[in-house]
């Protein structure tokens, strides 16, 4: 084996808590990356993946510091290196693609200025050459409008595109090592597939060495040469991809892989009854105020009908920006629709949260998509969970404390976390605190907006088990928003497919695997990565046109520009509803045409 490009030995990273206590995040980690290989760091959320990845740049997040061990990249020792050395190295020898590209782009600079900045700082290229190279990278990363995208500001570009732009920024200096930190976690499958494809091609073509952080084994299978399995800041197992995925040795690795295997669908409980619990009829909603005729300036949801019965799980899927979260916010009363009615138990439910009774509010709870911002950074975890207990159920402080501990345990979090502030949790931990808070209200309906997106398979499975159990025991109903089709298949009774703010299809879980489907549903199902190296190269979905930035069209089918089966009518007229016993599909083509051969 050649000399490693990067190695970490006996790395120890600690953080200082708010009260001055020292918290060990990474006790003792050792690993190395050979030139030209892609090493994946996998492990549960909070296991120190991001922390270790960042240490390869000689960097520790605020509040943390590198307390011991050796770090060497491209022959340079980073532990204890002076600021100049590190500055020369970062962005030049080692480049970083952040977990959330949206947050890592400076909102007030143009994309081009930020992408070429590393090249300019390190003097590898002059401005003109750098811009040329950036455009070439944009093209290689399959970004739409590669010549013009640079002039835009970050908020004018979709999340998936930003992730690729961030990769372009990392690659512009031809670094020896690129670190990808969960670059596709927040993306829907159709976008994810594109990003993955782009990364893989780039890494291969440029011969770059990469460290790829993720908790998604299917993604790992596509991209990694070797895998390091992390837990509690320690490397549990390190080996080639095939070995870890198909012959894991360590117990934890085995659990991880087992959890990633397709789940048996949950059995619908007896409690499901036919009375609808929540109904939305003809909902129209949008942002940016209303026009004179009362329609929203930017229409995000258009004519949505949804109904959820008691104890039923409705999965909602669709690509990023299609309006899934908006739908949940409408149901929660946070975003009054401009048209349409909401019913709870058949009785009208006010579209405005302020006009709803406390009991109505309790019965419909929402788990917010961004765990980060949905928790008050100044309120301790315990207090956050205790608030609904006091608010809806009038629990006193003492009984609330016991209940908080129980809830934390339900979502597989240690009771000690109750004393922490949200800033001291990892992404997945925050997500589960959010869930626990919603459960504390003892609702009838839970609006779950991407509750497992940041969780590793083991914990995600535990959380899903919990949800299914609650449904069985208490008859809890869910609107389950996700981009993970695997999960939708496993947990929902019905699936609602949204495209650009309109319903493309509603189908039962059992109907999902066969029969007639909207072309978009088909694209989605084909895009779910499989736990099988080489899938990425074979899947037909990889050539399905640019994802992201889908716009609702005033007339006609919004999917028409991307649709392989589009006919003239698609552009001009609203698609009709095709009804089969277990599905409703909104499409101009006939059921026969939509049924795969």
């Amino acid at each position: 084996m050649t000399a490693p490009l990067a190695r970490i030995e006996h790395l120890r990273i600690t953080a200082t808590g708010d009260d001055g206590r020292e918290i060990v995040i990474v006790p003792d980690a050792t690993l190395s990356v050979a030139p030209g290989e892609v090493l994946a760091l996998i492990g549960e959320s909070g296991s120190g993946k991001t922390t270790i990845a960042l240490s390869l740049m000689g960097y520790a997040r605020p509040g943390c510091h590198i307390a011991g061990g050796e770090i060497e990249v491209a022959g340079i020792r980073l532990d204890g290196a002076d600021a100049d050395t590190l500055r020369g190295l970062r962005g030049r020898t080692v480049a970083y693609v952040a977990q959330s590209a949206a947050a890592a782009f400076n909102p007030s600079l143009t994309i081009m200025a930020q992408v070429i900045e590393p090249a300019l700082i390190h003097g590898t290229l002059d401005r003109a050459a750098a811009e040329e190279k950036a455009k070439a990278l944009f093209r290689r990363l399959a970004l739409p409008d590669p010549d013009g995208v640079g002039a835009r500001y970050p908020h004018q570009v979709s999340g998936g595109q930003l992730q690729r732009l961030m990769a372009a920024m990392a690659l512009i200096t031809d670094p020896k090592l690129v670190i990808f930190d969960e670059p596709t976690t927040a993306l829907d499958v159709t976008t994810q597939i594109e990003v993955l494809k782009a990364f893989k091609d780039a890494v291969r073509d440029l011969g770059t060495t990469a460290v790829y952080v993720t908790h998604d084994l299917s993604v790992v299978a596509q991209i990694a040469d070797r895998i390091a399995v992390l837990r509690g800041g320690e490397v549990q197992e390190l080996g080639p991809t095939d070995q870890i995925l198909f012959a894991p040795r360590h117990d934890y690795s085995r659990a991880l892989v087992a959890a990633a295997a397709p789940r048996a669908p949950a059995v619908a409980p007896a409690l499901v009854d036919d009375r609808p619990l929540l109904e939305l009829w003809g909902v129209v909603a949008g942002y940016g105020g209303t026009n004179h005729d009362g329609t929203p300036r930017t229409r995000i949801l258009d004519g949505i009908d949804v109904s959820i019965r008691r104890g039923q799980v409705l999965g909602v899927i669709g690509e990023s920006g299609c309006g899934k979260s908006t739908l949940a916010r409408v149901a929660a009363g946070l975003h009054p629709p401009t048209a349409g009615r909401i019913l709870l138990d058949g009785r009208p439910l006010s579209p405005i949260v302020r006009r709803r009774s406390r009991d109505e509010l309790r019965r419909v709870q929402m788990v917010f998509q961004s765990a980060d911002t949905a928790l008050n950074p100044a309120v301790r975890v315990g207090a956050a969970i205790a608030r609904p207990l006091a608010f809806y159920h009038g629990l006193d402080r003492r009984s609330a404390r016991a209940e908080v501990a129980r809830l934390l345990d339900l979502v597989r979090l240690p009771a000690a976390l109750a004393g922490r502030l949200p800033g001291e949790l990892s992404g997945g931990q925050k997500q589960r605190v959010n869930l626990a808070r919603a459960l504390a209200a003892r609702p009838d309906l839970l609006l779950c907006d991407e509750v497992t997106s940041a969780l590793d398979p083991v914990v995600a499975e535990a959380v899903l088990d919990l949800l299914i159990e609650l449904r069985r025991e208490l008859g809890l109903a869910y609107m389950f928003i996700t981009h993970d089709l695997e999960i939708v298949r496993a947990i929902s009774d019905d699936v609602l497919v949204l495209y650009a703010g309109r319903v493309a299809e509603r189908v039962t879980r059992d109907g999902l695997g066969h029969g007639a489907h909207h072309p978009y549903t088909r694209l989605l199902t084909a895009s779910v990565p499989e736990l099988r190296p080489g899938w990425l190269e074979e899947t037909p979905a990889r050539d399905a046109g640019a994802a992201g930035g889908a716009r609702m069209r005033a007339q006609g089918c919004s999917f028409q520009p991307r649709c392989p089966m589009a006919i003239d009518a698609c552009a001009a007229e609203m698609p009709p509803m095709l009804i089969e016993d277990d599905r409703r599909v909104f499409c101009h083509r006939s059921v026969e045409m939509l049924t795969p051969a």
């Binding site: 708010d18 009260d19 001055g20 605020p62 509040g63 916010r329 929660a332 009363g333 946070l334 949260v353 302020r354 709803r356 406390r358 509010l361 309790r362 709870q365 929402m366 917010f368 961004s370 911002t373 949905a374 928790l375 008050n376 950074p377 100044a378 309120v379 608030r387 609904p388 608010f391 808070r437 209200a441």
Partner: protein
Amino acid sequence: MRGLGPSGRIGLVLVALWLAVALVGPAIAPHGVGEVVDLDVFGGISRAFPLGTDYLGRDMLSRLLVGARYTVFVAFVATAIAAATGILLGLAAAAGGWIDVLLSRAFDIVIAIPSLMFALVVIAATGASIPVLIGTLAVIYTPGAFRTARSLAMGVMALDFVAAARARGERLPYIVVREVLPNVTGPLAADFGLRFVFVVLLLSGLSFLGLGVQPPQADLGALVRENIAGLGFGAAAVLFPAVAIASLTIGMNLLIDSLPGRRRR
């Protein structure tokens, strides 16, 4: 105390010192505040008069010991009232809607009324007393606190955890006090420290107008002001009250800056 860090501890000591002076100062003052004890004026530091004498030949140490409580308490209470009202209304306004429009306009108007006119009208309408002085100071400085709190809270109000609280059915007071406030305490505390300084200074101006602290008593700022004639001789009577103000306000700000929870900043 341990969590404060060295500068915070210095601040705490200074503030505690002035608090002690404010509390027991009048009891330990060696002479009466209005008593002329020295036939010469602007006397220097001496055994009999450790801080010299003032423009009428009164003992500076006694005047400082007795006067400190006005600056410490009046300024503090006035700032606290201004901050409390300004912050609460500012937070409420951050929720938007007609409350915001109403409050913002109202405070713009208050800002626009010249404080001299305002003070004169207050004196004419209510007469002079310490509560009126405190009220006047508070009214003059509330709009500033309001604007600061509002702009800080606007950012927080847009965040998801506020939406979460709304979805739970929380009322505006709870949202404002329990969800938003804890997230802006740092900058608000810093603002409080600065506002306290301004109030200390304005206090001396208003008591000079006749709006509260009456002779022979004088707050620290007024002590500087009334002895300014001694500046030409480098009189101790100007120097010490000025140093007193600076040490009090600096101490206060050091303490505020190092309060727990703000250290990370």
